[in-house]
């Protein structure tokens, strides 16, 4: 963690002083602060935040912090401004903080929440929201009460985002416009839902049924946060499984280690360049990463064979797109990526495999992955030849554009590369585990093989780009 900038420190200090000024009037004698309600709400908020730090029940899933605005918003609706500001403090100080420096972040969070609660409570008081909540024998004034509650939530949300943007601009040195952009839009909807829960809590709190009934409102909120955390955990596990699929290919075909990840990256570069929508780009990334997954179905002996392949062996290796498609057929979210896995060895002139599709018959994703695949194959070192410079590879791609590759994709890759450059690094550096009846690697004493199968159409390797005998 780098040191906090001076501007950042000053900003936090200002917020802190402002927050103290907001909260102090509650402590004055004769301020008429409803201490019982304030203490109960503060304890409740603290309990929620502390519970969020611990694994919920049995499963070790954290509930994200800041999920308990309903309690704060109920305090905003129920208490005078300075008391509402006080309620936020103990919970914010006790809550879970992900990143360092923790102490500073906690203090900042407490100041921020206190300020937001104070402003929101003022807005509520302006619109006479306290009386509209009812209490004792009086029924709450629905639907009018939705107005002060909505305005208070909006104020809370606005102050929070404004302060957040400020800290991003001063402490993280982001330009002010980028700091604020999107912050508000992203946070309005969740705050509104939490605001409704806060309103319910406040209404029930004031009702004859009392604070206990108000607690019932928090249970569904808490459970949905918990489920959401589990969702994130499961999603991470899913991504690890996809990586495992790729690594399984790497284990079999260790010459191409890291190839899949890099093809994924190059595919994304092309896709961004041709202006593909973001969710399709994500699917395309998976297409690039998984394009060779079918090699799991090719006997390891063939993939590792040094020396020329017999036509029979080549036919077996050329089955890998179909194997891959067969494997991922059942994965619903891959969508278009499945077609890319099946067709990434098709050529524009129809001489590719497995189906010999030509031109526009080849799915767009497959055309992108084909270019990315060939580019990475040429620019990385293989056992039988050195890596080629990016420029040479691009020239070669350009030469084969129109016959083998889609010229549009080739141009897009060239543009993306001039802008961003190419940083090939192996992201998954894994150990060589002891493998079954795998032969020991036969190092450099073998003559470099002119043709090894199963890899992208590296036209340079054989200097005969359209040699139909070369698989891959």
């Amino acid at each position: 963690m780098r040191a906090l900038s001076v501007a950042g420190r000053a900003y936090i200090l200002c917020a802190l002083i402002a927050a103290v000024c907001c909260a102090l009037p509650a402590l004055r004698p004769g301020a008429g602060t409803p201490w019982r309600a304030a203490a109960l709400l503060a304890a409740l908020y603290t309990a929620c935040e502390v519970l969020g730090r611990r694994p919920f029940l049995v499963s070790a899933v954290r509930v994200g912090s800041g999920s308990f605005f309903p309690v704060l918003l109920a305090a905003v609706l129920l208490l005078p401004p300075s008391a509402a500001a006080l309620v936020a403090v103990p919970g914010a100080l006790a809550g879970h903080v992900e990143r360092r420096p923790r102490a500073v972040r906690r203090v900042w969070r407490a100041a921020q929440l206190a300020l937001a609660a104070w402003c929101a409570a003022h807005v509520r008081a302006l619109l006479d929201g306290g009386a509209a909540l009812g209490g004792g024998a009086a029924a709450p004034d629905f639907p009018y009460v939705l107005l002060p509650a909505g305005a208070a939530v909006l104020a809370f949300c606005l102050v929070l985002t404004a302060l957040d943007g400020g800290i991003l601009a001063t402490a993280e040195r982001l330009p002010a416009r980028t700091a604020w952009r999107g912050l508000l839009l992203r946070s309005v909807a969740p705050h509104c839902v939490q605001g409704l829960a806060g309103l319910m809590t406040a209404v029930l709190w004031r009702s004859p049924y009392g604070p206990l009934a108000a607690l019932f409102v928090l249970l569904p909120m808490y459970i949905s946060c918990w489920v959401f955390a589990q969702y994130h955990r499961e999603r991470a596990a899913h991504q690890a499984t996809i990586r495992a699929l790729v690594q399984a290919v790497d284990i079999k075909d260790k010459y191409t280690r890291g190839h899949s990840e890099r093809v994924g990256r190059a595919s994304v570069m092309i896709a961004r360049e041709i202006g593909m929508e973001e969710d399709r780009v994500e699917v395309l990334r998976f297409a690039g990463i998984l394009h060779d997954v079918g090699k799991l179905g090719v006997p390891t002996r063939l993939l590792r064979k040094d020396g020329p392949l017999t036509p029979e062996e080549r036919r077996v290796i050329e089955l890998h797109p179909e194997y891959g498609h067969e494997m991922v057929r059942g994965i619903g979210f891959l969508g278009e990526a499945r077609a890319a896995i099946l067709h990434h060895h098709e050529r524009l002139d129809g001489s590719g495999y497995p189906y010999g599709l030509a031109g526009g018959q080849i799915p767009e994703f497959a055309r992108v992955v084909a270019v990315a695949d060939a580019f990475d194959a040429m620019t990385s070192t293989r056992s039988y030849r050195r890596a080629r410079p990016v420029g040479t590879a691009l020239r070669e791609l350009d030469r084969c554009a129109g016959t083998q590759f889609d010229p549009r994709m080739v141009r897009a890759l060239a543009r993306a590369l001039t802008r961003q450059g190419w940083h090939p690094r192996v992201t998954s550096d894994e150990q060589a585990d002891p493998r079954g009846n795998v032969p020991p690697p036969r190092g450099g004493d073998e003559p470099p093989a002119p043709a090894r199968g199963g890899e992208a159409g590296s036209p340079l390797a054989a200097a005969r780009p359209n040699d139909p005998g070369r698989p891959g």
Binding site: A197, P220, M221, C225, V227, Y231, P299, G330, I331, R435
Partner: protein
């Protein structure tokens, strides 16, 4: 083993629900609906809740969250059953009207599902009717006679007793659901009940809490409370859905990884899937809980993954006929691959230890070992003489050292019942 008891129980449950429904509908039609506005509002809420029901999946693989496919409908029905006041004025509807409104709304909400060809999910409606009737019978007569007001009052104790009543109702629902699942699937009752109770902690408690909040909210603020108060539950439902979606995707990916060995020709077609289904059934039979069953299923799907590291396929993929040392080595290789996936570490342990003698294995690994051997031996390619009977016989011969006798007997029972229950989609 399962006998006819569970089937009779199911008949009894259906009969009770049918009689209750007919009586309630008849009574309500005959005497008319009291406070039709309130009844209509709750009816609409329940119908909407049922409309937003998720894909009906009540099989053994259903997530705990999917035990309650229409949380909003359930919460609305419970709230109507526990409604005593509206905006401070006492209500007068009785138990029979509650049942009638809930049935009518549930059936109305089911119409589009039937039209879409999903089937009516009658089990779900029957459970809903009986559970709501239970809550209403406990609350409405006491309340309408004024006894509740005398003893409990309308203050904080009201909320407390409502919560207690809901806990009782939820327990009653869990018992009922487990009994129905037992009758449908023939699995032992204890573990089914345990799973239902565990599900109560998740969506179940959210539904109960929302039911109580709606009843209290309407009592304080009138019908305005209904739309406002169902928002948190909708949020919960949404998060459960996203969770369920990512779980499905995850399962699909693991299945794909498992299929790699089949495509590579190391194992026969469909082997991993068959072993996973059969292992799950045997695990159920032996009383494993839902999380354990998930571990078992993933381990069974990936149990052969170690063969990917072999240079040449084993003949027919039947590891059961390899020498023990070789089997164990493949198992260790598989464990190494599984550890790289995101699955819980228990899965890797099961995969690693699948070839050990059963006394050194965890229960899941014993199941995977026996079921895998059964599938190897009963297939044409497995080197066995074929046929399930001779395969079982060979397993029984191996119970001294390799296979646990109890597991083999459970497997025999599952097979005798017709083997596999319907497969999970995906």
């Amino acid at each position: 083993m399962s006998g006819r008891g569970p089937a009779y129980a199911l008949g009894g449950v259906y009969g009770a629900a049918a009689v209750l429904t007919l009586y309630a509908l008849g009574d309500t039609l005959w005497y008319g609906v009291t406070e039709p506005g309130i009844a209509l509002a709750f009816g609409v809420l329940i119908t909407l809740g049922e409309l937003s029901r998720w894909g009906v999946r009540t099989g053994p693989c259903a997530l705990p969250a999917e035990r309650e496919p229409a949380p909003l409908g359930a919460a609305g029905a419970l709230a109507y059953a526990l409604l005593g006041q509206i905006a401070g004025q006492p209500t007068t509807h009785g138990v029979l009207q509650v049942v009638a409104v809930v049935v009518a709304a549930a059936l109305a909400g089911a119409v589009p599902h039937i039209a879409a060809g999903h089937g009516p999910a009658l089990d779900h409606v029957v459970r809903r009717v009986l559970t709501v009737a239970f809550a209403a019978v406990c609350f409405q007569p006491l309340y309408n006679s004024g006894l509740w007001g005398e003893r409990v009052g309308h203050g904080p104790y009201h909320a407390l007793f409502l919560a207690l009543l809901l806990v009782l109702t939820a327990l009653c629902d869990a018992v009922l659901a487990a009994a129905m699942a037992r009758a449908r699937t023939g699995y032992p009752y204890g573990p089914l009940l345990r799973d239902e109770l565990r599900a109560l902690l998740g969506i179940g408690s959210a539904v109960c809490a929302t039911g109580a909040v709606m009843a209290l909210g309407v009592a304080v603020a009138g019908l305005w409370a209904l739309p406002v108060f169902c928002v948190p539950l909708l949020l919960t439902q949404l998060s459960f859905r996203r969770y369920a979606a990512v779980r499905t995707t995850y399962r699909q990916t693991i299945t794909s990884l498992a299929r790699a060995t089949e495509i590579a020709g190391y194992t026969p077609q469909g082997h991993a899937r068959r072993v996973a289904l059969l292992s799950r059934a045997v695990g159920r039979e032996l009383g494993l809980s839902e999380p354990d069953l998930t571990v078992l299923e993933y381990a069974a799907l990936m149990h052969d993954i170690g063969q990917l590291s072999l240079l040449d396929p084993v003949q027919g993929g039947a590891t059961a006929s390899l020498p023990p040392a070789e089997q164990r080595r493949i198992a260790l290789l598989g464990g190494a691959v599984v550890r790289q996936t995101g699955v819980p570490a228990e899965v890797a342990v099961v995969v690693e230890r699948q070839a050990d003698p059963y006394r050194e294995q965890p229960l899941s690994a014993r199941i995977v070992r026996a079921v895998n051997a059964y599938d190897d031996l009963s297939g044409e390619s497995g080197g066995g003489l074929g046929g399930p009977l001779s395969a079982l016989e060979q397993l029984r011969l191996g119970t001294g050292h390799d296979y646990q006798p109890e597991v083999v007997e459970s497997l025999a029972r599952v097979l005798a019942r017709g083997g596999l229950t319907p497969s999970p989609p995906g």
